[in-house]
Symmetry: C2
Subunit: 477 residues, 2 copies
Amino acid sequence: MTKTIRQLAGRSPALATLLFAICACTAESPPATEAVDLIVAGAAVVTMDANDTIIEDGAVAVADGVIVAVGTRAEITATYHAETSLDGDGRVLMPGLVNGHSHAAMTLLRGVADDLDLMEWLNNYIFPAEVEFVDAEFVRIGTELACWEMVRGGTTMFVDMYYFGDIIADVVDRCGMRAMISATVIDQRSPDAEGAIDSIQKGSEFIERWKNRNSRITPIFGPHANYTLNAEQLQATREAANALGVPISIHLSESPFELQYSKDTYGTTSIELFESIGFFDGPTIAAHVVWPTTREIPILAERQVGVIHNPTSNMKIASGIAPVTAMLDAGVRMGLGTDGAASNNDLDLWEEMRLAAFLQKVEQMNPEVLPATTVLRMATIGGAEAIGMGDTIGSLEVGKRADLIQVSFDDVHHVPTFDVVSHLVYVTDEQDVTTVVVDGKVLMQDRRMLTLQTDRIAQEARDLAAKIQAALAARNR
Amino acid sequence: MTKTIRQLAGRSPALATLLFAICACTAESPPATEAVDLIVAGAAVVTMDANDTIIEDGAVAVADGVIVAVGTRAEITATYHAETSLDGDGRVLMPGLVNGHSHAAMTLLRGVADDLDLMEWLNNYIFPAEVEFVDAEFVRIGTELACWEMVRGGTTMFVDMYYFGDIIADVVDRCGMRAMISATVIDQRSPDAEGAIDSIQKGSEFIERWKNRNSRITPIFGPHANYTLNAEQLQATREAANALGVPISIHLSESPFELQYSKDTYGTTSIELFESIGFFDGPTIAAHVVWPTTREIPILAERQVGVIHNPTSNMKIASGIAPVTAMLDAGVRMGLGTDGAASNNDLDLWEEMRLAAFLQKVEQMNPEVLPATTVLRMATIGGAEAIGMGDTIGSLEVGKRADLIQVSFDDVHHVPTFDVVSHLVYVTDEQDVTTVVVDGKVLMQDRRMLTLQTDRIAQEARDLAAKIQAALAARNR
């Protein structure tokens, strides 16, 4: 068009000027772009797709909670417009982190006791505090506190195992995160059930209530471990889970204590026991898996058990060093978890990434093992696949739910930046995350929490902690 | 006085009113308290004195760069007044952290390459980048960047080993930190010397220039390691250090490579070699010490060698797991270090504390070893003692130089707080530090850096990194 006008200009300058003006006016009118709900940009977009694609100066478009386009910022803004656009200058845009194993409400007990023998820690601090204080209110406050910390740190999805699932689900519903919430099954009196049978029954009812109720919430079964349930109870839980069509989350092969218990009770190891009783005949998320034998690792791969590595907890309470690279090499689906804050003492998946890499390197005396890209996958798409949600979340790809975060690279510890993935794994921490979107909804923007009343939560948590501390002090005096 | 006036009031109300007015006026006039330069408060003051005293709602008074009083806030404010008072609500006041081993300028190379075999990493990335780019300007920018990160994260003192000591000293002088700066001695052409003899000569001149010039700066010798200097050169460095009355900092017993080299070359291990050649006949700061034998640990204790543990670096480049508790049990003076950011990839001593504790616990399969209090000592008074400055810094005690920090406990990861020391070790990170004072001077206040031009440093670091990245890409294409 411009060329045609220029040709005209030689013959009729006045007409050409008029036509130029019309063209300029047209160019200024709103472009015929498609309306979406949200456009989020990043100086680098770390997609975590199958090719580990990183797009410089990129963006994603989101409509109805779904990613509808991923590309350069120029491509996206040429094709879409949105009422809400989140600028990405100096920020990395990436999928939200997936916390594959947590006990969220236990965040209320962070630092209540440390550096103790496991049994002293459990029997004199954690169990007494739980027996006396864990009720619906404890779980509400503790889960709100955990969701606050997780969102603040860029976690968009977590797999939880605790009590009072309805309360947890209600908090998750309101705060906007995504979660799998386990109905804990344990053969003892617990805060919300009287034993294995009762907890399976109540768990089934919880799952019925929440199944298909909120697309962000997946109710599942959480049989505690092979040393707190007998083989029949484990089988019964699997049958109940399969009848309801939900996965199971369980502690598995975590500690030398569990190894010994399993050997003494069953004459075999946990994973071989589970295989023999059909426990893996359905989707399973196994937390810890520190002590699998070379015979057991192929079972985990073949049965597509999702293994969640919890390096901080495994180190802090001295459970051991999981053979992460051996499991990955065997094709086991692996994610990362924080475990509860009582044994961590935070919910920082960035630290789990670093520790996972560091621990494998020093244990194998080889700096090449478990490189940054691999642990970043474990914290995102790998974790999503491990929990059976690889088609839904974990990467920035068209068709996936819009769970994404912006990470500021302005802080001094990111200066200079040679490699974005290296920094995400070896430098970034919770406080660098600026923006969190789950299911297309903005939960945190420029470090402001939009769905959680943080002042109230902090006050309630501190008040409850003061009561717990007084009770434990009286008890252990 | 008030009682006397009240007694008067019955007889002469007018006189009593007058006297009340005089008293009120007197009460409003400045109290007869002592003037100091600075009062810094904390909701909890973690003194790190010999009794691990923690003062609730406490404060310190500082005059002429020295701590003149430590007590409750009420005691301090009743006795002292100061033009500058730093409020401590919601904050922990504690000694600044001591980074016992760093290569500050290498912060410019953080993340330039990771997850590589040590020799590939050194030969294809670190050494080529250093050969081409390390000059006075690189050292100035890199050290400024490191000082920025260290101050931001609460480190007030560091022991550095790099090149162009005058430049490093100049940066430290200007930014206000405290440092021991090594003149690196190495038997090869380096950025600032031609070999062992030349580096000893130039190092001596550097030490002469900076000795007694600035009380915050201690110039020392930094012979690199037993595999980059022969026994005679090591001895010559010790003699030069003793002649000048300065300590030595050296890499020692770091890696299986060093073990093998020492065995092949000397038929013994590094520490036994050093003992036999008199290398420990003077103050020595030994970095890493991953592989001391049971025979060598008592030598380190007896010779009062300060050992600096660098857990991140030791894990990330797979050097090994140092026997920290065995050394502590033997009476070895131990501190913590970050090593260079090229193998870390940050300068975060909070993370070193956590990793030190975690790594010992899992390695010994015992959660009780290296408790939080012990690692916090390593990062403060223990580190100060290890580098021979235990009388000067490392704790908040009357007579010590005023190197102190405030750490905010407002962040969600500190909620709730059962135990301040537990949180400092297992939760706190760089970004929680709000205030840093060195030698009585405020270097950072409410997260604002007061002595470093951070925008300029970030820009210069990014510009230089872009050149380095282009050169390495061309080289490794």
